[in-house]
């Protein structure tokens, strides 16, 4: 005889059975996706951490009394102290201030590019996907060509042609990034397009544009939201890498990547850890929180997940 042991799963099931019996689970009027999201501990932690960092960046002037550009040669290369929480850099600027203000720019670039790429990708994807035909073909080819370059290479290529600036960078990110959302939206639109309610709408004589944007699009938005979140993380990392190389945002504007640029100098790397280690950690933590949120969103929206 083989005995049946109570596993951990069994115990969880027993709890659910009890709750159901008592009637505890019946009145969940909350949106199912929201409930699943909040159940995901990592996602919630991610949300909290990223909000904290975001708020710190926004309220930088209140938190820190130094300006990021304030040069103070006499106090250069100071290790962390009560005066300067993250110490000072090579020309005496307060590192903590630079991290806070830099956060503003880095996060702005990240979210801005992600939103921009999403807007363009969704608009083009839904219309091209819905209409099909020549427009769709052309846009597909264009996106294929752009996606056959590694993204960094494409970005660097365009930077070398048009030069560096904050807005240039955002535009370039959008140009190189719209492809994946376009593909995704197009696929979703194609699958919904053939459904009956669309044919019915057409039979009623509704304008193509209205059908496309008002009726089909809302159904495709879930994955788009996930994509925006994960793209934000990607763009922040890319901006950091580019600025680290000195080819991203110009040096007069502090960003997280710009600050790390200093670490290219071996002596800084070895002796002045406070100039680059905290920044890098902040980037990692922020990106990780965003990734947790993105993963949480993806799991809660996915209808096949059974939780």
């Amino acid at each position: 005889m083989e005995s049946v042991k109570k596993t951990k799963l069994d115990k969880k099931m027993d709890i659910i059975k009890q709750k159901e019996k008592v009637g505890l689970l019946e009145n969940k009027s909350q949106n199912r996706a929201l409930r699943r999201f909040l159940n995901n501990r990592l996602a919630v932690i991610g949300l909290m951490i990223s909000t904290i960092i975001l708020l710190a960046a926004i309220f930088a002037p209140i938190i820190c009394k130094y300006f990021p550009q304030r040069v103070d040669i006499l106090n250069r290369l100071q290790p962390p102290s009560l005066e300067h929480i993250f110490g000072t850099d090579k020309i005496g600027r307060d590192v903590f201030a630079r991290v806070l203000y830099g956060g503003r720019v880095s996060i702005f670039v990240g979210i801005g590019s992600a939103l921009g790429a999403a807007i363009i990708g969704v608009l083009i994807g839904s219309y091209a996907g819905y209409k099909g035909g020549l427009i769709d073909e052309i846009v597909m080819r264009i996106s294929e060509i752009m996606m056959s370059f590694p993204q960094i290479v494409l970005v660097l290529l365009i930077v070398s042609l048009v030069g560096q600036s904050l807005w240039n960078l955002i535009v370039i990110f959008i140009l190189t990034g719209w492809g994946s959302i376009y593909r995704m939206t197009r696929a979703k639109i194609l699958s919904i397009r053939e459904e009956e309610y669309v044919l019915a709408l057409k039979a009623f004589g509704l304008n193509d544009i209205i059908i496309c944007y008002k009726h089909i699009l809302p159904n495709a938005l879930g994955p788009v939201l996930v994509n925006i979140t994960l793209s934000t993380a990607m763009f922040i990392l890319q901006e950091a890498a580019l600025s680290f190389l000195g080819l991203g945002v110009p040096f007069n504007i502090p960003t997280w990547g710009n600050i790390l640029n200093m670490a290219q100098d071996i002596s800084v790397l070895k002796e002045n850890w406070w100039i680059w280690l905290p920044v890098g950690s902040v980037i990692s933590i922020f990106v990780m929180s965003i990734n947790f949120i993105g993963d949480g969103l993806r799991d809660s929206i996915d209808p096949t997940q059974q939780g």
Binding site: I145, F149, P150, I152, L156, S160, L260, W276, I285
Partner: protein, 305 residues
Amino acid sequence: MLFIITFLVFLGLELTPGDAVSYMVSPEALANISQQSLELLRDSLGLNDPFIVRYFKWIRGVLKGDFGYSLSSGVPIYKIVFDRLSATLELSITALLISTFLGSILGIISALKKGSVLDNMLTFFGMIGVSIPQFFFGLVAILIFSLRLGWLPVGGRLLPGHETFIDTLPYLILPSLVLGLTMTAGVMRYARGIMLEALNKEYIRTARSKGLSEWRVKLIHGFRVTLSPIVVLIGFRLPMLIGGSVVIEQVFQWPGIGREFVSAVRFQNTPLVMMIALLFVLVMLISSFLIDLFIAMLDPRIRLE
């Protein structure tokens, strides 16, 4: 497709400020030339011809190996590329091997033991790996292993005089591990997803209904089906590999094409930028073709088409 890309590259070349002669002819030849001879030279090079003609002439030149000359150093581009190619290949291929094998194995184990402590740990590390900027990871690695512990050299590839592969190894370890491990994280997450999906398929239930052992069900029926998507995965990793090598080569001062690319961009050395970009695209197109071939071998459904 290739046609359009080469066309775009040529367009980019055309945007080079200054006279096209400066990168089409070696600097030595240009050094002592008079104004009239310059005009003749320009004519003979076809610089006064219409755009399309010049485009085809350029293509012909490229196929023969004439990539033009670097604006900043005057060295023929093909030589630059040639010298650096092997270094980049060393780095990239090592990193590719590490990330593919480590990533898929860990990802699959993670899926097989879903929900266990091991799975959660691996998932967490995977998350970290995907979130840390690659270059930051590299800097930290240098700090710990080169500067503090002194186990490995800080950067570069070889000391002059030592040319064998064994000599390269200490230099290769850190950059390839950094590049490889950060990519492992992504591969691992993806492989886990694929494996979980495969385990959810109907034919897994059919396999169980035959009374096969769990081991056989999961490995022979579950895993086998994941091979094809994993190969696709490698295809998608290639752009990341190229992009990653651009940054990592800079951090570790590895003398590869990536580092050349960065300095070319920095100095607005457009001909070099364009040619290297073209090279990258070619690599990607070739490998995507190879991958399609591989997939056909692995998935019988595709074979017949």
